[in-house]
Amino acid sequence: MKYENRQPEEGINVSKGSPVKTFLQLVISTLLLLTVSIFVLYLSGAWLAKKIPFRYEEAIMEKIDVDFGSSGSDQDIREYLSELSARIAVHLPNPDEVSYTVHYEPEDVFNAYATIGGNIVFYKGLLKALPNENALAMVMAHEMAHVSHRDPVAGLGGGVASAIALSTVFGSSGSEYAGSFINGAGGLTAVQFTRKMENNADDAAILAVSKLYGHTVGADSLFKHIDEKRKESSKPDWFSRFSSTHPLDSDRVENIKQKTLELELPTSGDTTPLPDLW
């Protein structure tokens, strides 16, 4: 009997192929899977959240007790905004289900947003940029339409659903994100609406403005203004179109125009001036 140790060929038990290539393929497939599942989760979360009655939204806002800057001395501005919102509310869908509370923040921020519980916040910076009441009514009607479409709670539901999914995948950093959505005021402005939500809100808003004033003149002047400003800046057009959840402002002007034509809304009349409050 002979005993020897022959050396088998090298590499039989080790697969060939570049590990980096395998890694990149895996990363791409994982990201694809993640994107698709987060998208599906967002939609189902949004769909489910819309089933929550509006009074629970109000209850949530009471629980987390957010200060929208209501303690200031600008009582006349608040009263004016509330009165305007009451006039718009009757022209929006679901008047019996939802209620609106308009807040004013005396900060130089070019923004307005709607959040859960029917709370709408206007910043001084935005009000200053508006040329007439018709433009203000359009912006307000747009934010109110979000509330009446239940967009904030849908966005919150979708955000929470996808954030929870992210936290199961990525651990603590994902759950911090989920926590900010659920717990605090930090998450309120982070509620993102989809482009479709924005377009639907615009459609409802232009209709409401037309009913309120009898015409649509001046309604799109804010978006025209933003569009002009953007053209001055150097960011390429496709970039902002791709990255922004708000539809590009020239698209919105176009959309509002089309809606006006489609519903044969009157396009001539005089604009109402703004009161001299801010």
Binding site: K2, E4, P8
Partner: protein, 106 residues
């Protein structure tokens, strides 16, 4: 290639021992299967997904061992042993090894 877990085969004689040959394969099931198996774990029963996985792995490992034996000029592998181990969460390894020999008829 003759594979056996016997060491002495009736009617055959080992002419030469050529040393140890081995084959291994590490595999995992996709997350969906892991999840379903986790649910099945509550009720008990055979986890067919894993049975299948280990079967395929065992075949590949055996095939790799055979390849090693072939590359050193053996015509049989005797005293074959299988072992299964868990390498990382969700990944199982099948390992098979034996003695490569040159067999002749008696």
């Amino acid at each position: 290639m003759l594979l056996s877990n016997l060491e002495i085969l009736p009617g055959k004689r080992v002419e030469k021992h050529l040393g140890l040959v081995q084959g291994s394969s590490v595999r995992s099931k996709h997350a969906g299967r892991d999840f379903l198996s986790g649910i099945k774990n509550i009720f008990g029963g055979e986890l067919t997904a894993y049975t299948e996985l280990l079967h395929d792995s065992r075949e590949q490992a055996t095939q790799r061992m055979t390849e090693q034996a072939k590359s050193i000029g053996a015509n049989a592998v005797l005293n074959i042993r299988f072992s299964t181990s868990s390498i990382a969460a969700g990944a199982a390894e099948i390992y098979v090894y034996g003695t490569a020999v040159a067999l002749v008829d008696e």
